[in-house]
């Protein structure tokens, strides 16, 4: 008899790595602008579908991925300039609703361009799944897990070691003081959207070989990534990644040991608990107590 636990944990890590990548995009924009970007899942969708189209034009996978990410960065920048910037200074709720509208527009446009059929991308390193501790792990999941760690490290270096990173952090802390120092919060908002669009696109391209890519994948991805980001406290990138893996593990363990089919409900129950117990997120609070 094969034990369930190793497989459930590996499944949780696979799914969790997907949520973690999406959660990072939420955190990046929230940190700089104080708004939740509900079009974050759509960046992943656009990245995956653009990449699939470029592959169809016989580009190699690395080149197609690169072009797709660059294109989505431009889309993110355009979104910021055309929809967020004109409403700069509005109530955050207004801005959040704008991002919601943009996400619906992206979904509708994608349906027109790509149709309703799912697309897929080849695995980056094809081959049989890896045997690990009595369970199996898809090779592509290794990419997703590795990428989520690499992005956290990259963001950490960017924010703590580089001047633009420090400027972004400063804007999040005190926008008024920043303007006095000659840092434009508007430009920082543009930087945040561009970066996080690129991040979303990378996430979409990495997970498409596992899940497939459809025009409406952004909605559920965005929702789960949002839950992960909130559990992590919304402002802390490493915590958001941990939140993503936590949601993935909760889902797979509920499916494995409790009644399957209730994993979604239990995930949101955990979110509610987190919000009731500690409004700013579980991990965030723990860290603050340490400090």
């Amino acid at each position: 008899m094969v034990s369930l636990l190793p497989q459930l944990i590996l499944t949780g890590l696979t799914v969790g790595s997907i949520y973690a990548l999406v959660a990072l995009g939420f955190v990046l924009i929230y940190n700089v602008t104080g708004i939740l970007n509900f079009a974050q899942g759509e960046f992943s969708m656009l990245g995956a579908l653009l990449c699939a189209t470029l592959l169809g034009w016989h580009l190699s996978l690395p080149l197609a991925a690169l072009v797709a990410v660059a294109a989505v960065c431009l889309i993110g920048a355009a979104m910021e300039r055309l929809t967020i910037e004109p409403a700069f200074g509005s109530h955050p709720l207004t801005l959040i609703i704008i991002t919601f509208g943009v996400s619906m527009a992206f979904r509708g446009l994608s349906l027109m361009i790509w149709g309703a059929d799912p697309y897929t991308l080849p695995e980056f390193t094809p081959g049989p799944a890896l045997q690990l501790l009595g369970g199996v792990l898809v090779r592509q999941a290794m990419w997703a897990i590795g990428l989520s760690i690499a992005v956290v490290l990259g963001l950490f270096l960017f924010f703590s070691r580089s001047v633009p990173g420090a400027a972004v952090r400063a804007c999040a802390d005190n926008a008024f003081a920043c303007r006095l120092l000659g840092i434009s919060p508007r430009r920082m908002s543009l930087v945040a959207f561009t970066l996080s669009a690129g991040l979303g696109a990378v996430a979409g391209i990495v997970i498409a070989p596992i899940t497939g890519a459809t025009y409406d994948m952004g909605l559920s991805l965005g929702l789960k990534g949002f839950v992960a980001a909130v559990i992590g406290g919304l402002t802390n990138a490493p915590a958001a990644v941990v939140g993503g893996y936590l949601v993935g593990l909760i889902e797979s363990l509920t499916t494995g040991y409790l009644t399957p089919g209730y994993s979604g409900a239990i995930t949101f129950l955990v979110l509610l608990l987190v919000l009731v117990i500690q409004r700013e997120g579980l991990l965030h609070a723990a860290q603050r107590r340490q400090a």
Partner: protein
Amino acid sequence: MKGTVKSTGRCEAIAAVVAVVGGLLLAGFPALGQGAPIKIGTVFAVTGPASSLGKPEKDTATMLQSQLSSAGGIGGRPVQIITYDSESDPTKAVLLMKKAVTEDNAIAVVGGTTSPESQAMADYAMQADVPFMSVAASTTLSVPSRAWVFQMPQRNSIAAAKAMEYLVAIHARTFAFLYRNDDFGQDGLVAMRAFARQHGMTIVDTEPFAATDTDLSAQVARARVHNPDVMVVWSTPPTASIAAKNIRQLGMRVPILESHGIANKAFIQLAGPAAEGVVFPAGKLLVANQLPPEDPQRALLLKYARDFEAANHYTANTFGGHAYDGITMLVDAIRHVGPDRARIREYLEHLRGFIGTGGIFNMSPQDHNGLTTRDMVLVVIHNGDWKIWKP
């Protein structure tokens, strides 16, 4: 005062022009001056989670509209097919059906892409006494039969019976059943349970999952513990493909049997190599060119596929075929008995030997589906393509 009257008049004139132009645009410029058009309402899930089914259904309706227009309508009267998008939402579906019936004065309605949409629309059809041709497969849509409701796809219990023929043929004794936890999956579970009992087979494990799940290896791992002879999956892509992939990734080599919900190329694209060898019950459209020449459906199936692919950029599939059957059956009824709801209903109920894409329909007051397992074939995926499965 005078100014107000004048401007109101101008407003009315503008409104009239807008109404006429808008009407023409909506109607797709029907041939003018041959009496009021006969209207057929269609409500499909063109967008939303069920869009991979609803899109080909709508595209089929559009194709039939242009064919009917160039053929000059029915008996000289133009036919207008009104298409609405339910966005995969049962509430919207029933509201749009109401709109088609009360505002557009549609003589009958085709649609209800998913079973929940069709259920809601069927209830309305019964209230309003409107013929409704459902394109969803839930068994409860035609069992027990309801006066105004007709079902175009082979209902789920027929598909399950066909799937069972495969399990019987390979002498399976046990199987695990993975299903999407909604109307479609549960319908399959009920039918497969009953058939398994009849054939002395054991369902060793049942595993529900959600339509939005991105990984099913937890469910597969649970099923694997029971060592089933066959893994049976009852869903549509993408989850149907993810299940097949996860089964192979976890090293299980047993045969995979899936449902008629995977009868489109999306399944093969998403599942990749894991699709190889998967068997499923389907209407004959998928393998039309492999049918023997004497098959009565062959010519129609090939024509539908050819016409559809000439008008659209993707392969014809069975879902569009269900819309084709619903609309052509109504056109046939109107041609014979005229645009009268009660007489159309009466005609459809006694329609026998009607050759459609889904099979040869033999309706009766007790059976508003009129199809049997003979109207389906078992298909195996071989080298990324569909082949008729042979034991």
